[in-house]
């Protein structure tokens, strides 16, 4: 079967003239060789951070929320800021897998596996915060609406905080299934190369996959069904996170643009974190032929796009605050930009809206160094955004007598460091046990997007452009009945 024509405008997505066997070798190798010194050092650092987090959390549970610097005006601080930040990061993976799959974007194959894994780890970090921020962690089962012995006492179904519980647990479940489904054939590939106990383990993990036609057929329909389910979930999760704020009557929180704008911001921050990880991963694991500069450029374009959407939303909020003629709304935004936390507002604007604009330049979009630096900027900027929304708004409420200020304690900072530790520990382990790039999916696009096929696939396109005649465009179609 000859591959369909591919426009020469498109960059190849697999470089180095790979054969199917080389792909297997390249992508399985990281799970088969001993860890490099760089990996070991990184893992130790991540474990230290994780330990700091565990100690801080235990201290919080032991002492109580008094170990944080929250006060009666500012009831949410770094806890919910970190929660929203991590949830946001957890958006890119499922977006890349599901929405880009539905849109038939072939470049997703280079990065989808790692991004999905990252999603799961980020959601775990996020889910930690609602649990500990209630203080009495031993009654945290009150979150769940189960037939209970508390008489008529149920969680408040009218509260977006409860909707959050459902949204995040659903999202986590579907993301996990999606990720794992994709892994099954690749685990089987690793199994077929392994010996002894490793072989047994991977056999178990791959559910006895043999790669027969029926397996593939079911695997493909399951992927599509999960993609269809995950797509609305990508939107719903951050929409509901935004409801946590927007259903209130607090100026600066109660605004209708929050749902779509939170979703755009989440994708923005998620892609930034994918870039941070991918830039390092492709270098350390020598995957430059699978995660090409073209992949990085595409993701930078998504960052530019979503950063600009977020920019439109910021300016819309600012403008409508003035337009509303509502003095409290106006004050909330005046306070954001020029109040005691002005630096966080400017940090947010600079990192999220202004700095991604450098990606208008192709040179910068295709520079690995720039990409890494910018991805860090965006990570910081999106953290600031949540801090601005939460702390700045709460610090100045309706009564000037209760205006206050908030700086985190060392315990709060420790918990944040700890979540970074959890995230990187999991991610580093992941790179050791599973192929970081989806082997089966790369093989699937090789004939259309491998560099050695580019010239052949482009032939009909070049002929068409040069001749300008439509004769060659008449293709046999088996049109359905209508």
């Amino acid at each position: 079967m000859s591959a369909a024509p591919v426009s020469p405008i498109r960059e190849p997505l697999v470089t180095g003239s790979k054969t199917y066997h080389q792909i297997t070798e390249d992508l399985c190798a990281p799970t088969e060789r001993a860890p490099s010194p760089a990996w070991v050092i990184a893992f130790i650092v991540a474990l230290i951070a994780l330990t700091i987090g565990v100690v801080s959390i235990l201290y919080t549970i032991w002492v109580g929320i008094g170990s944080w610097n929250l006060n009666r005006t500012i009831g949410w601080g770094w806890d919910i800021t970190n929660f929203v930040w991590w949830i946001g990061i957890g958006h890119a993976g499922t977006l890349i897998s599901a929405i880009l799959l539905l849109f038939r974007q072939k470049w997703r194959t280079g990065v989808n596996r790692a991004a999905e894994a990252m999603t799961i780890f980020a959601v775990i970090c996020a889910a930690l915060f609602p649990g500990i921020h209630v203080g009495r962690i031993w009654v945290v089962f009150f979150f769940f609406p189960y037939p209970n012995t508390r008489g008529p006492l149920w969680p408040n179904f009218n509260s977006p905080l409860l909707w959050d519980l459902f949204a995040i647990s659903t999202y986590f479940t579907v993301s996990l299934l999606f990720w794992y489904t994709g892994l099954v054939p690749d685990f089987a590939t690793v199994r077929d190369r392994a010996k002894g106990i490793r072989r047994k383990l991977y056999d178990l993990l791959s559910f006895g996959w043999t790669g027969n036609a029926k397996h593939w057929q079911r695997w493909e329909s399951l992927s599509l069904v999960l993609a269809g389910l995950a797509t609305p979930l990508v939107l719903s999760v951050h929409t509901i996170v935004s409801f946590d704020f927007a259903t209130s009557v607090i100026p600066g929180w109660h605004t209708t643009i929050f749902p779509p704008y939170f979703v755009a911001g989440a994708i923005f921050s998620g892609f930034a974190m994918v870039q941070t990880l991918m830039v390092i991963t492709r270098k350390v694991l020598r995957l430059e032929d699978y995660i090409t500069i073209g992949h990085i450029e595409s993701m930078n374009k998504v960052i530019l796009l979503t950063g600009t959407i977020v920019g439109v939303a910021y300016l819309t909020e600012l403008f409508v605050a003035w337009y509303s003629g509502y003095v409290y709304e106006q004050f909330a935004f005046f306070n954001r930009a020029l109040g005691p936390y002005w630096w966080s507002y400017f940090g947010m604007m600079a990192c999220n809206v202004l700095s991604p604009q450098v990606f208008w330049f192709k040179k910068i979009r295709r520079s690995v160094t720039w990409t890494f630096i910018m991805s860090i900027f965006v990570n910081i900027g999106m953290w600031f955004e949540r801090f601005v929304i939460i702390a700045t708004t709460l610090a100045r409420d309706y009564l000037p007598s209760s205006w206050s200020f908030y700086v985190p304690t060392i315990v709060e900072i420790g918990i944040f460091v700890g979540t970074l530790g959890i995230f990187f520990t999991f991610y580093l382990l992941f790179t050791r046990v599973a192929p970081v790039v989806a082997i089966a999916e790369i093989k699937h696009i090789l004939k259309s997007s491998g560099d050695q096929f580019a010239r052949k696939n482009a032939e009909p396109v070049v002929q068409q452009v040069e001749s300008g005649s439509l004769e060659s465009t008449v293709v046999e179609h088996h049109d359905d009945e209508h």
């Binding site: 369909a4 024509p5 591919v6 426009s7 020469p8 405008i9 498109r10 539905l102 038939r104 609305p232 939107l235 929409t239 409801f243 927007a246 259903t247 209130s248 009557v249 109660h254 605004t255 209708t256 643009i257 929050f258 749902p259 779509p260 374009k301 796009l305 600009t308 959407i309 439109v312 939303a313 300016l315 819309t316 909020e317 409508v320 337009y323 509303s324 003629g325 509502y326 208008w360 009909p460 396109v461 070049v462 068409q464 452009v465 040069e466 001749s467 300008g468 005649s469 439509l470 060659s472 465009t473 008449v474 293709v475 179609h477 049109d479 359905d480 209508h482």
Partner: protein, 415 residues
């Protein structure tokens, strides 16, 4: 047949449609109240709706070019031709703008000097809501849209002639398209606030502009499907097949859900917040436009959701045309529901103030409470105008862009 011929019979059809529109407008004008609010609100309603379709076609085109999209190439001339309607749209919107200066109409509460003088909220907004900005914004912003649409169109036509395999025209097009995305993103919001949101001059919602754009987008895709099936039935666009329509059907399905998502977000947050200044918007519509309010959701969400959910309905001409017609109508009603209540209120104030009649309250008002024959007649007229301009522009270039570097991909498109 790679050249569309815009011939007698089709031209005649659109001219008759326009005639129906003119007659409807004339009857409306004669039978109207003292300030001709039904007449003017119908002009505004349809001008905004069809200008919006053209604007979203341009947006879609920019997005497609920027995203290296290939599959839509066989019919990209349709979207190019849609976007050129912006020129006509500018004229239409200028008629409304000139009306502000001549005080021909009472569409906008904020244009009534006396009302503003006694209303601190309107005074606060007068820096933005004034006839100067309205006119300048319409001319300047739509001017930029027209410039982008024109450049993309002319580069696309030049590409047909060139046959150069270094794709230089394509590169230039990409620059215009990429610049077009943020420009359209920022400016469309400003125009929607002025054209649509400001008829309820006190009310505001940050989501409003995106909600409007989603509504226009669904209508645009629906109209595209109808026009494509028409062209195919006449023997044009032989390269277009079910695969392309299937993808357009998916867009229609997805954007309908996106529209509903924005509808729900806006409604739910305002309901939940329960702040009088905001809820008044929905209270008015629920109390006095109840039927339309729910019809809007029924047509624009439930119908496409259930009809287009299945795979095969997105591949059949019958179900696609059925859904498309309803969705165009449904989103036209959505704009009706956004514009008319506010305008009626302004009109009643103006009439009561001039002593012409008592404040009418919430009695049934023809052309406001529900669209009547005259509203549909006017809509048919504007649709005729839109289609006339569309087919005229379509006939002025190759129907299939013969040297587009994505054409072969598009021809071989398979979902």
């Amino acid at each position: 047949m790679n050249q569309f011929k815009f011939e007698g019979k089709l031209k005649m059809t659109f001219l008759v449609m326009m005639l129906i529109g003119v007659v409807s407008l004339a009857i409306t004008f004669i039978g109207d109240d003292a300030v001709h609010s039904r007449f003017w609100s119908n002009i505004l309603h349809n001008s905004v709706f069809f200008t919006g379709i053209a604007m979203l076609a341009l947006f879609m085109l920019c997005a497609k070019i920027t995203a290296f999209s290939g599959w839509h190439t066989v019919f990209k001339r349709v979207w190019e031709s849609y976007s050129l309607f912006l020129v006509v749209g500018l004229v239409l919107m200028l008629i409304v703008a000139v009306g502000l200066w001549g005080h021909w109409h009472h569409l906008y509460h904020w244009n009534d000097a006396e009302a503003v003088a006694n209303d601190p909220i309107l005074q606060g907004k007068s820096g933005f809501l004034n006839k100067g900005w309205y006119t300048f914004g319409t001319i300047a912003i739509m001017g930029v849209w027209i410039l982008i649409a024109g450049r993309i169109r002319s580069l696309s036509k030049q590409e047909d002639q060139s046959g150069d395999s270094s794709f230089s025209y394509h590169r230039k097009m990409r620059i215009w398209a990429a610049a077009g995305l943020p420009i359209l993103g920022f400016t469309s919001a400003a125009m929607i606030w002025q054209w649509v949101m400001s008829v309820d001059a006190h009310w505001y919602s940050t989501l409003f502009a995106w909600y409007n754009a989603a509504s226009m987008m669904v209508a645009m895709v629906a109209l595209t499907i109808i026009c494509l099936i028409y062209l195919k039935s006449k023997g044009y666009l032989t390269q277009l097949n079910q695969e392309h329509l299937h993808d357009l059907g998916k867009y229609m399905f997805a954007f309908s859900i996106f529209w509903t998502y924005l509808w729900f977000s806006q409604y739910m947050l305002i309901w939940y917040g329960n702040i009088g200044e905001e809820t008044i918007y929905f209270k008015e519509r629920l109390d006095n436009y109840r039927f339309l309010f729910f019809l809007n959701l029924g047509i624009n969400f439930f119908l496409p959701f259930f009809v287009l959910m299945r795979n095969d309905t997105k591949r059949k001409y019958g179900t696609l045309i059925f859904t498309s017609i309803f969705l165009i109508l449904g989103h036209w009603l959505d704009f009706f529901l956004m514009l008319k209540p506010g305008i009626l209120h302004t009109t009643q104030e103006a009439l009561a103030h001039s002593g012409a009649v008592e404040h009418a309250g919430h009695a049934f008002t023809a052309g406001f409470s529900l669209p009547g024959f005259l509203e549909f007649g006017t809509m048919i007229g504007f649709l005729g105008l839109f289609l006339y301009a569309f087919f005229f522009n379509l006939s002025r270039a190759n129907l299939v862009p013969t040297r587009d570097p994505y054409l072969m991909e598009s021809v071989h498109h398979h979902v």
